[in-house]
Symmetry: C2
Subunit: 759 residues, 2 copies
């Protein structure tokens, strides 16, 4: 519950306007809650009460870490991957600011950087995040394109079902269109309520979460995810179809063209949202003009023949015109409503006052959709256009009513708005994933803002998923449509049901009226949902019916893991005074604690005391509780080994060295070498007659830990670092495997002393 409140009202004490913070890059590092701060303070007091030595301050450091007095830029070394020239621009006396990723040193690196910069533009500073907003005249076309563009395929999808009952059944499209217009207006009104109630950005996910609980929210969220992916696939395939209707020669290149378009959308969106808006603002207006032209010219021609409908070409009936067919046709036509939720998701992307601009945009969008949907269905009826393979109905209509250059214009505008519609999903899905990741329902990587302040990970994930789907269906719109309606209307239903609960809870002025609107929307959406899920199950809806619960399950597992992490990492200042044992005694300095007789038989009471927290440096959270023992595993006595020994010895803690020997002969030989060196450090040799190295060493360290769980074992591993990747196969890789394995051993800290090998 707390996270949800935080989401709606982010606790930013110094943030003047809350919405600007919602999509902040610092969301990756969220603020601590008051309880966490209190815990932190108590832990700090424990440190202070046990800290005998004066606190290490600046004057205790051997150099000034602010680097302010640095005489010149540090020189890049031969091994440096990063040249640190000009990295720090000290703006304030005590502040360090990094100037982005350093210049790459290799020729390939520079070429990659130049390409990246050319495609994506220069890096954007975090401070630029507020400026990246949309004006209303830009936001309207960007966000409405999904909704409006769907009239290019929605009516056709509806009539493609009706025509199964013969060409005579096509006239049923008129009443169905009327029902759909009522439905569009209802749902539109319903979303207007939502925008007002959730001014900080409120898609179905957040509304369902807040009002219906977490699982319902996840169902809404994941169904929206499938919806967005399908939006991209369907819009791109319909856009390509608009092109191939005009130029049939391009049809064999359908799939390749679609993939190219998705890549262009990917790059455009990685550049950032405003740039995308500027690029893609015009097509919506162009498409509206095109639809107006087609309907207007069509009406004039129809008026010329007294509004008599041209009979469509005769098609034999394959099925009878029953209720089921009508419902299936309706649910196919309802794909035109996808994208109606886009504005409510993207409220914070509008310029202030966000909710008012968003609401105005939504009203315009819904009105435009209703007019153009109804107008197109009417014109199809009047002009006698029927679905046929190879050419879209819109193309047929435009070819009939407006031949010549106007036809070309209509097709180009259709293709462009469909591409823009795909772009809408690139705005919305990363934002949805951001919200889900903030609630720990999605991987935290989706919180990360890339170079250009866009949510790169979400954008890339969407492009990949949509690309795979598009290629899997070979870019056929009619194959993708059955998958489409289920996810959309599931989200609609949950969102509006959530609003019903919201009004019942809050009882603001006129809440009964608002509740009625949302309830009507919810019921209508549910009807479409059930129709689509049942009627089109076999044709493809099963994919979504399977995908949504799977995604919900994954999401719940992700949340479960993050909960485990969060409880494992929570501070427990009050648990400490209660646990007994020698680790409690504040022994000053590095001297080891007295041998604990009580510990040797019963392993690790520390861990037993603290639920959810296993291992770590003996579960001690203040420096004085940590007893040290440094272990240096060695293979040969070369420079790397002696450096590790010297480093370990210089820590001034108790230490010894371990050598794993394959046989007793080597054992003797190593002991002699050790004596030759001077035997400055105690040496243990473990003979491993089966020539394994990792297993005996790990077992040995585990045995040490079991003997004295209060002591932190620091394993100092000498390690060769080679410059070229293929050189790694020439070395045993034992240090790497040892590190990987030891990470899982409680009470062990691994220190790696690298020796870089030139060449």
């Amino acid at each position: 519950v707390r996270e949800q409140n935080e989401r709606a009202n982010p606790p930013q004490p110094d943030a003047p306007e809350a919405p600007t913070v919602v999509l902040s890059p610092s969301a990756e590092l969220p603020a601590l809650s008051p309880e966490e701060l209190a815990d932190l303070e108590r832990v700090g007091q424990e440190w202070a009460s046990r800290l005998r030595r004066p606190q290490p301050r600046l004057d205790a450091l051997p150099l000034d870490p602010t680097l302010g007095r640095r005489p010149g830029p540090p020189t890049p070394t031969r091994f440096g991957r990063f040249a640190p020239v000009d990295l720090f621009q000290a703006e304030l006396p005590d502040q360090l600011v990094a100037s982005g990723a350093a210049e790459p040193t290799t020729r390939f690196g520079r070429a990659a950087r130049a390409t990246r910069r050319l495609l994506l533009g220069p890096q954007l500073s975090s401070a630029a995040v507020v400026q990246e907003r949309m004006r209303k005249l830009v936001g309207l076309p960007v966000l409405s394109s999904d909704l409006l563009s769907s009239v290019a395929y929605g009516p056709e999808a509806m009539m493609a079902v009706l025509v199964l009952a013969g060409s005579a059944a096509l006239s049923a499209s008129l009443p169905l269109a009327a029902v759909l217009v009522v439905m569009v207006l209802t749902v539109g009104a319903s979303y207007r309520q939502t925008i007002k109630a959730y001014p900080h950005g409120a898609g179905s996910y957040i509304v369902a979460c807040d009002n219906l609980g977490r699982t319902a929210g996840l169902v809404a969220g994941t169904s929206l995810l499938t919806d967005y992916v399908l939006t991209v696939s369907v819009s791109v395939s319909a856009g390509i179809q608009a092109v191939t209707s005009a130029v049939p020669a391009l049809d064999p290149l359908r799939v390749e063209l679609g993939v190219l378009v998705i890549v262009i959308l990917l790059v455009g969106n990685l550049r950032g949202v405003r740039t995308a808006g500027n690029i893609f603002a015009a097509p919506t207006y162009a498409f509206l003009l095109a639809i107006g032209l087609v309907i207007g010219l069509g009406l004039i021609q129809a008026a010329g023949r007294g509004f008599a409908a041209v009979p469509p070409p005769p098609v034999p009936a394959a099925e009878s015109l029953g209720l089921l067919l009508l419902l299936r046709a309706f649910s196919s036509g309802a794909t035109s409503m996808t994208g109606i939720e886009a504005v409510s998701n993207a409220v914070p992307a509008f310029r202030p006052v966000e909710w008012r601009n968003a609401r105005t945009s939504l009203t315009w969008m819904v009105a435009l959709l209703a007019v153009s949907f109804a107008g197109l269905v009417l014109m199809y009826h009047l002009a006698g256009v029927a679905p046929r393979p190879g050419e879209t109905m819109l193309s047929q209509l435009a070819r009939t009513t407006a031949p010549g250059p106007v036809y070309g214009y209509v097709q180009v505008a259709t293709a462009l708005i469909l591409l823009l519609a795909a772009n809408t999903a690139f705005n919305d899905l990363p934002r949805l994933l951001f919200f889900m990741a903030r609630d720990c329902n999605a991987p935290r990587g989706f919180l990360h803002m890339g170079d250009r302040l866009a949510f790169s990970n979400g954008i890339i994930a969407l492009a990949a998923a949509a690309g795979i789907l598009f290629v899997a269906f070979r870019g056929r719109t009619e194959g993708l449509i059955p998958l489409y309606a289920v996810g959309v209307f599931l989200a609609f239903t949950l969102s509006q049901a959530g609003m019903v609960v919201h009004w019942r809870r809050h009882r603001e002025p006129r809440w009964r009226w608002r509740l009625a609107i949302n309830a009507a929307g919810a019921v209508l959406s549910a009807v479409v949902l059930i129709t689509a899920a049942i009627g089109k199950f076999v044709e493809g809806a099963w994919v979504v019916v399977v995908a949504v619960p799977t995604l919900v399950l994954i999401s719940l597992r992700i949340r479960h893991h993050y909960d485990a992490v969060s409880s494992a990492l929570a501070l427990h200042p009050l648990a400490q005074p209660t646990f007994p044992g020698p680790a409690q005694a504040p022994t000053p300095g590095p001297a080891p604690p007295a041998p604990p007789t009580s510990h040797s038989s019963a392993p690790s009471p520390t861990e037993a005391k603290r639920p959810g927290v296993a291992g770590g440096p003996a579960a001690a959270d203040t420096p004085q509780e940590i007893g040290h023992l440094v272990v240096v595993p060695l293979a040969r006595l070369d420079l790397a080994a002696l450096r590790a020994l010297a480093y370990a010895a210089s820590l001034g803690q108790p230490m010894f060295a371990v050598h794993i020997s394959p046989d007793e002969q080597e054992d003797d030989r190593f002991r002699q070498q050790w004596e030759t060196w001077g035997n400055h450090v105690r040496l243990e040799i473990i003979v491993s007659p089966y020539r394994t190295i990792i297993a005996p060493l790990v077992s040995y360290l585990q045995a040490l830990h079991a003997l004295r769980p209060d002591i932190t074992l620091t394993v100092v591993v000498p390690e060769l670092v080679v410059r070229r990747r293929w050189h790694q196969v020439l070395h045993s890789g034992t240090p790497r495997r040892l590190r990987t394995t030891l990470r899982h051993v409680p009470g062990v800290v691994v220190t790696s002393v690298p020796v870089q090998i030139p060449g």
Copy 2:
């Protein structure tokens, strides 16, 4: 030069018989040379002279690392991958012995272990290495199978070339066979000299290395590598062909059967050499009996018709019978000589006295080869057998002369000895790679002896390469034969040319006579080599002509890298007193050295002084030279962060914390949290407006290192450890990337403080 001497005469002061040490598991940890020991002693004296504190001894440790007084076995923890039960059996009071890999804890792990044990047998202790030797009666068949089995395809390969000039040309096989017998006897006599001169195992590689130089040795070694791989492929394909000649229905399964056979050979050889010998000893004797039967019965039948040759089926001539064709036929027939070097490579695998047993075996093998090769060619001539697709000539001959069960016996024996021949390569190639790896010409992994004291890596590499080749040629012998002769005769030529040089140098008794034998062998081999390389270049020899130089080049690069490593890791005790700077001053304890004004402008004179050694802990080899600064990079103030801070503080060295902040808002927030905690440690915040973390941190550390190259920066990284692999994608992976990058930064030591997350 030193390595080569070491190889031939390993400097094992306490090893009674040198050959037993040649293939020791401790070869992975070679002894130090006298110079290295002297360096080590001097470095140790420096430690002693600068060690102020009493040396840390057993009584200084907080627990007894011999684990001798351990009250009970340590209990496996929830996070332990290895259950340390029964790991240590203390045989002597102060000795620890690991009892092999611990029991796996998961059900899958136990099943995998049981399967492994079933296939490969129980683990063998290093002490068992001497027992794994071959008796003469086992060694003879195991090592001679390659040589003897090749009469199953060698004569046929020769006659398949001759028949291109028509069936009349087949009679040219008799004089060619006579030449080949002379050649076999010459090369055999030549190798007898080699065995005597190199009793510790002397293949072409070692002989060429010793006498002709390293590059010639590498050419010989890599050509032998290609030879062994081809031995497996050709023998397996010829063996399968023997089966499919008798049962043509199996021909479509040729490739699958061959792969199955290679897998069986792989498993058998991973079990170890003696077991392999016992399994595979009988077939050689069976095959010799089969060849004897075929020749004997054939002779009786031929005697019945007065030794009149049956005319072969008429075949039209495609080419004329010129010198080139004869030479190509000869080089094809010479593939029968492959494997003659097997004994000289494997001398140490014989029971003592090794060289005498090996030499006796070689004499027998050569005599048997000459008789059976000549006998078979004669029989083919007398019985009028010609090459034809679908059935081998040996099968045709046996079917004619000995129909019924004897025919079946011949085919089975042929198939079995060919499989045994493939097995010879599994004995020899890993041994050759062992020698090459000891000389740093091959990856060191080939020094490792597996569970069963076999060189598992070499065995697996051979099986993989041969399997790929076999599948690529779809198991056709005739396609593989052209690749075969080049590698073999290149190695022969170099080996015997090396012996010529050897005799000229050593001038032992009768050296002129020995030199003449080897010179004759070298010249004959060189003729076959040139014939094969030119005459069969287009048919496939080009593969080997390309592969051998490529492998030599790779081998030289490997050696180059190991040389770089070795010089980088060499101890330099005398270089130290000469370099100036504050790091020289023996400052006691962890107090940091005085600020070095001379260092701030000129970076790292330490590195400049010491060629080949870059970075590391300030290139300091004694503990007193190391000045410390501990840096703790932090993202959030959670338990993991506080543990890392506590660990770092408990080291008692100067320390501070670094936080990378994406924007100034988060910067302020983090500072507040730090104050809440109590500000016990100095904190630096680097604002990274482009949201990169690794690059600014690394650049910052590089800048610190450039300021004070004499100080070792210890970076203490808090790190989450998750149990399931897929959970890793839910976390940023920044600690891992930081570790990987920091490994390349000189003067930085990385310490990873893990926090294990349950579930």
